[in-house]
Symmetry: D2
Subunit: 329 residues, 4 copies
């Protein structure tokens, strides 16, 4: 029987992490389970930094970005000693289970700890990148799209006013979820992301021909290319320079950066986080171990933590086709 659980947020922070913490704490309280929150991700385990989490500690945090527990990356966990030390900390606090909110990298850390720990471990997918198998969406993804979209809409204003070409680089590590979604939603003229054919210095014409076509045939007053980070070998600024030279028109690069991680979570992220945080506690009570709480086709479901990083989830093929054959025709 579960009497006492730990919870922590790990890796890049994502809007909605606080909503997940709140839901887990309220659900635990309703089931008479005590909750300990560790600070700074796994570092809190290693450094004994933690606090009791009661319902009053999570009042009115649902609307805030970041994470009240702080987050961090934790290199020490990648050694067997580190993992063993973390497991020991969990047992010293008599924790029957622990909830890890983060991405697949954090879940790998959790699996290392599991080798030394007798309690249950469950993951909750929290990352703006959406690159976690076993759930249609990760906590933070919806907010990151809207943050990116808001920025692109603003740049559209100035691009239209100036009849200029802008390249806007979005986050996503090695996946194109944010870029494809924000690009479609912004009506971007072109989208470049890792899942599409790579753009290299020697095939710039694949980018250039549609630009020339659009200006000739459709009288476009602005032209926006959204680019996932890590899409062009020398970086997006270099790509903008190469394009400027090839086209003879000024192309400007905007690197959107860390604003995509913060901000008030949108409704979709708060709701997903609430469901996953609550479901994680309920599934721990039901005995789940080494699983991730996810939502697939509107249904809450479990997925093996060990498979969350397999990268089998695909970006939406309908949107890919729409963008490549219709929108940028």
């Amino acid at each position: 029987m579960i009497k006492r659980i730990g919870i922590l947020t790990s890796g890049g922070d994502a809007p909605g992490m606080n909503a997940a913490i709140r839901a887990a704490v309220l659900t635990a309280a309703a089931n008479n389970i005590d909750v300990i929150g560790f600070h700074h991700g796994f570092n809190g385990l290693l450094d004994n930094e933690y606090q009791t989490l009661l319902p009053q500690h999570v009042q009115h945090i649902i609307q805030y970005g970041g994470t009240i527990l702080k987050s961090a990356r934790c290199k020490a966990l990648y050694t067997s000693e580190g993992a063993a030390k973390a497991a020991k900390a969990l047992e010293a606090l008599q924790l029957d289970a622990v909830i890890i909110i983060g991405g697949d990298g954090s879940f790998r850390g959790a699996l290392s700890i599991a080798e030394h720990y007798n309690g249950q471990i469950i993951g909750v997918p929290g990352t703006i990148d959406n690159d976690v198998d076993g759930t249609d969406y990760t906590i933070g993804f919806a907010t990151a799209i809207d943050t990116a979209l808001d920025a692109i809409d603003k740049i559209r204003d100035t691009a239209d006013a100036f009849e200029r070409i802008f390249l806007i680089e979005l986050m996503g590590r090695h996946s194109g979820y944010i870029t494809l979604s924000a690009g479609i939603a912004a009506g971007a003229e072109q989208i470049i992301c890792p899942e599409f054919a790579a753009i290299k210095p020697d095939n710039l014409k694949d980018l250039i021909i549609p630009i020339q076509h659009a200006q000739l045939l459709r009288g476009k007053s602005s032209y926006i290319i959204v680019v996932a980070e890590n899409s062009y070998p020398a970086g997006t600024t270099a790509l903008a320079e190469a394009l400027s030279e090839a086209l003879g028109i000024e192309c400007r690069a905007c690197i959107l950066g860390h604003i995509q991680r913060g901000g008030r979570p949108v409704g979709a992220d708060r709701i997903l986080a609430t469901k996953l945080g609550a479901y994680a506690v309920e599934q721990l009570i039901a005995g789940a171990h080494l699983m991730m709480a996810g939502e697939v086709n509107q249904q809450l479901s479990l997925y093996p933590l060990a498979k969350t990083g397999d990268k089998t989830k695909q970006i939406d093929p309908y949107l890919v086709r729409w963008q490549q054959y219709i929108a940028s025709d």
Copy 2:
């Protein structure tokens, strides 16, 4: 073979309708299909108000609320004469098919026209209320949630500062989708919507006991009750007055109203609208008739227009349970 289609927006406007129009026009153009846009919903058919829609007419409209085609309700269509006249207008313009963007009321209008019209008819679900069967979400719903949420977050600030009780009335006609989603996302202390047990003057204690419980046990500094319109016989303002009297604490009502229909559509609505607008054209080409283009479990799919108003879709039972047993414990 489809050579020429009509398109119109009908009923209450919803953020994302412009994105659906744009996607339909671009997809039609890519398939060498001409598009005629009718103004003011079905009235444009009856009054011969329309315009040609080329790709340049839909540039940079994806980010705007409202609808460039205008919308309206149309009583004339509810007579057989009206429907016959509308059908005649479609045929006079040699339209092979027509796309109706609206809710189930608008789809009933489309079905009346179909009795007199030889072309194909397809629906696209556009309403903030989400009360249309055959699609998980309607265009505009996601934006309406975030608009409501933004307002509730603001009222939370002042409720917290003043330690007051607020009742916030949200839209939804006779369904609780917006209210449940926005209420969960806002961390509302109570949620009242048509799908829950009705609140009547003689069972106010069901509302009151949790308020007293929360103040005694949990030291809540504010208390927010979100209420779907049409939930209390005499209206939300009367409910606030009844509560004030019963509790001896000032309870204020806020009727959020029409701001929920407008505003820049969020990413989720723009993406859904883009997919449904494009898919509607593709399915017309494939022969679809008297169907609605929807998305169920991440898959685009068709659903009979005649069944879209059956009200078999349910609000999320997990969220209902969470709210009733956990959040307001």
Copy 3:
């Protein structure tokens, strides 16, 4: 010499109050002055609810609406006994001075206390209504305008889509600052506020003629009238009904309500609050008493607390003229 001061927020909360508290606390700390924050406005004085405020207590509060000290109205202060008791509380805590953040009603409360208190009292104007003499702008006014504007822009979307007339009621107690500013900024077709000629049931034609004129001559697709609260005897909803009947067109009323008090303060409010909070402490050190810290023509300056409610400040005559003779021509 000032060693120890109190601070409180009183009356309706306003975005930026937290920024003023933060600036006062940081400025006091830099001058080796201790700060006590009272909770719930003057009630905290009477009920002995307060806390020490150190710089770490005001970290990262500048971006939040509401007030960390809570606010309230306090009827007990309006009796001589209440004021004497409050003064006693200040002296029991050995406070050399107290900062009151609020509107002119709160300043009257402060003046009552002053009759029994030997320390210094300074006011900081915090109210969304901007109806305080001695400062061009009050803390919260700029944010309230933008909140109202955001709502009106959203309603414009739906008004345009439906070609409807909307009446939008804004706050302001008995002044038209918010209404005039938001109305001008929204491009409202008409503005009704206490400073303009009153609209009564028997002169509705003054409203109606411009509407008919606009529709005939200028093909307006929507018509928005912003109305300050307390402008029409029977209320804005009744006014909308009267207009609907007179025009034969549906006119809808939206009562914007309390969302205007909350939300993240905009830059202008955070900057003004920072300056006034800091300046209040500096002026206490310099010996100020029974004054309000304000900003007039970009210059920080003091103004007698006793005159802050004289209502000599005027709404912008240029904007009034523009609206009445040009915008609604």
Copy 4:
């Protein structure tokens, strides 16, 4: 007597330019003056690209960023031939006067034209940078502050979650208005702008000591430095790298870029733009020539165009002092 005027937007676009165009067109119409709008700044004069502007052309543009007339920089104007050609175009269209909306660079262009043109010329200050003498604020400045602030608040979330140091570069060409205002409003721990002592590779310790001090003494969980563009010789990214190395803590740079130019204008910009656009027309009627319409101490007033680039306006000394001695203590 003025019968016919031209209007154009020039240089970097700024939110509120559309509001200024609208106000000028409505005011002109009320005075029976025709208006011609040139496209792409001065290029529209040289290339004969223009349109008639009637009140219906400026309906519902007040809420949009960018400029419906498009903007551009125009090198051709810097030659005497270019200026003469522009003047000829104005006279060929029988324009009695022309309104130039832009910054001091655009006003220099206007002065060159004046050498060849018999009509009147008036300027309206539109630039986010606020670096124009003769007006307290330029159109677009208030919106740019809030856009920057929104981004900094988002980065604060992630900086807090990660306990990291961020350097955020804001626009402003060679002035620190945006940076100082946004930095104060965001509660930035440090502000670097051209008006402050320069930061160079050999005096990095001036930056570093306060960081170390804050972490030791005040337990700051995040540290944000806002940096005006052009403040560090090798750029903000290089500065972040230098800091990272010196501190042994990861410091990240965010270059906010062009999102600062776009977006819905905030209320303050719409109101200022409305007043200046209207006032410019009224002053042309009154005979003004080679003047800029500005607002100083809440009063509309004229200022010689030739002096608008003198850079005598200062950033707020009170805020400078506050930041340097109090906020970053």
